[in-house]
């Protein structure tokens, strides 16, 4: 049997495979432990996809709960009202803001993806379109958030 090209010293027996070939000479090892691998540094396209996924899954779970609570009205209007009333607190108010933010991004970015797939210059302008999506999204939230937060924290209603 031919030797492995590395011809490394055999590891210490009984499963403790901690011997490093390079540690035979003094060598700087990176300590403390680094992550298993670096995070892939994708650009706008990758992060828009990540956001799209996260918002998509978030919206899905909201819809699930929303279907359930709306279905309660078939059980009895009182039960429905009781559940809806528990939603009227600041935490749920912030949740609603997050929901609008998620739907806003998911919708706008969805249009961007449609343009990438169906408009033949879309793939060349995907980055620009991403920034347009972000700009529109910020405008949307600037319009919605102050009013909504006034309702939630404004005491009245």
């Amino acid at each position: 049997m031919s030797l492995k090209s590395t011809q490394l010293p055999t590891p210490t027996p009984s499963g403790s495979r901690t011997l490093n070939p390079t540690s035979l000479r003094s060598r700087r090892f990176s300590l403390p432990r680094r992550p298993a691998g670096t995070v892939y540094r994708g650009r706008e396209g990758m992060w828009s996809w990540v956001l799209h996924r996260i918002t998509g899954v978030g919206i899905y779970f909201f819809l699930l709960v929303h279907l359930l609570d709306t279905a309660l009205i078939r059980v009895s209007p009182e039960a429905y009202n009781a559940v809806i009333n528990t939603y009227k607190n600041p935490i749920m108010g912030l949740g609603e803001l997050a929901l609008v933010a998620a739907i806003g991004f998911h919708g706008l970015n969805g249009l961007r993806i449609i343009l990438i797939d169906f408009w033949n210059v879309g793939t060349r302008n995907h980055r620009l379109m991403f920034y347009i999506v972000i700009a529109l999204w910020v405008v949307l939230l600037l319009g919605f958030a102050p009013r909504h937060l006034m309702h939630v924290f404004g005491g009245g209603a």
Binding site: T6, N20, S30, E44, T123
Partner: protein, 266 residues
């Protein structure tokens, strides 16, 4: 020949060598960078580990030169692939500072030399040793799209098949692929779903689908119409950004999707 001359020569030679060595060791304009390489030697390591190396380089050196220096002067066990060293064979795609690039096309001066440079193997393909991954899943997908000319007729006697410049232009971009796997292994869909054909296979299918000399466009379109075919693409553009040949991969994939929808490869 007198002994004097020999002695003179003998005394002069070492002097020159030291000078040359000094200049060779630290050429003007050179500096030391730290490479942090993710290493894995299956005979010894249970888990991949990071190891630091200091290398003296010139700004015009490439990451491949730094790897060579390490292998030749510091640690011969460092393992990586390279063949041409000039960006044409596609052997040395790896993750450099978190992005897939060819080591032989990445200049030190295009990175930030004041910070350590992270070098690791491609993601999503089985790690074999240090920077070497098993390319078989990648080539398997490539073979499945039948990346060769399929034509029932023989070419005209003693001549090649001719094609108009316009028809050639249609698929020009995708002829440039060197099968380095930088694109496929940058794709988040491929990382989680190894069954996905991956960008490179689609690029090479595109090259024949839109070639008017080829007669099997429909066959390849049917192959890519699969659940694991073009419809898996989520347009993250990682492939287009990783491709060392600057192929507009996402555009090519989009064109294949379009051809599937409209039913014609024009």
């Amino acid at each position: 020949m007198s002994t004097v001359t020999i002695e003179a020569a003998q005394t002069r030679v070492p002097e020159r060598t030291t000078e040359t060595t000094a200049v060779e060791d630290a050429p003007p304009g050179s500096f030391v960078i730290t490479l942090i390489i993710r290493r894995y030697i299956p005979e010894l390591d249970d888990e991949p580990r990071w190891e630091d190396f200091d290398v003296r380089v010139l700004p015009t050196d490439r990451i491949l030169d730094a790897l060579h220096k390490i292998k030749w002067e510091q640690d011969g066990s460092l393992t990586f692939r390279r063949s041409c060293a000039h960006g044409i064979c596609g052997s040395d795609a790896m993750r450099i500072n978190g992005r897939n690039r060819l080591a032989c096309k990445t200049l030190i001066k295009d990175l930030d030399p004041s910070k350590p440079i992270y070098v690791e193997a491609l993601k999503g393909l089985p790690l074999e040793k240090d920077l070497v991954v098993d390319m078989e899943p990648f080539f398997e997908a490539y073979r499945q799209v039948q990346p060769f000319l399929i034509a029932s007729s023989a070419p005209p006697a003693r001549r090649e098949r001719t094609q108009s410049p316009v028809a050639r232009e249609r698929f020009d971009d995708t002829t440039k692929c060197i099968l380095c796997a930088a694109c496929t292994s940058s794709c988040p869909v491929f990382w989680t779903d190894g069954q996905y054909f991956g960008p490179a296979a689609i690029v090479n299918a595109h090259r024949f689908i839109f070639d008017d000399r080829d007669e099997a466009s429909q066959v390849r379109l049917d192959i890519l119409n699969d659940k694991e075919g073009v419809w898996r693409c989520r347009t993250t553009f990682n492939c287009s950004e990783a491709c060392p040949r600057g192929i507009e991969i996402t555009k090519a994939i989009q064109e294949v999707k379009q051809a599937l929808l409209t039913g014609k490869a024009s």
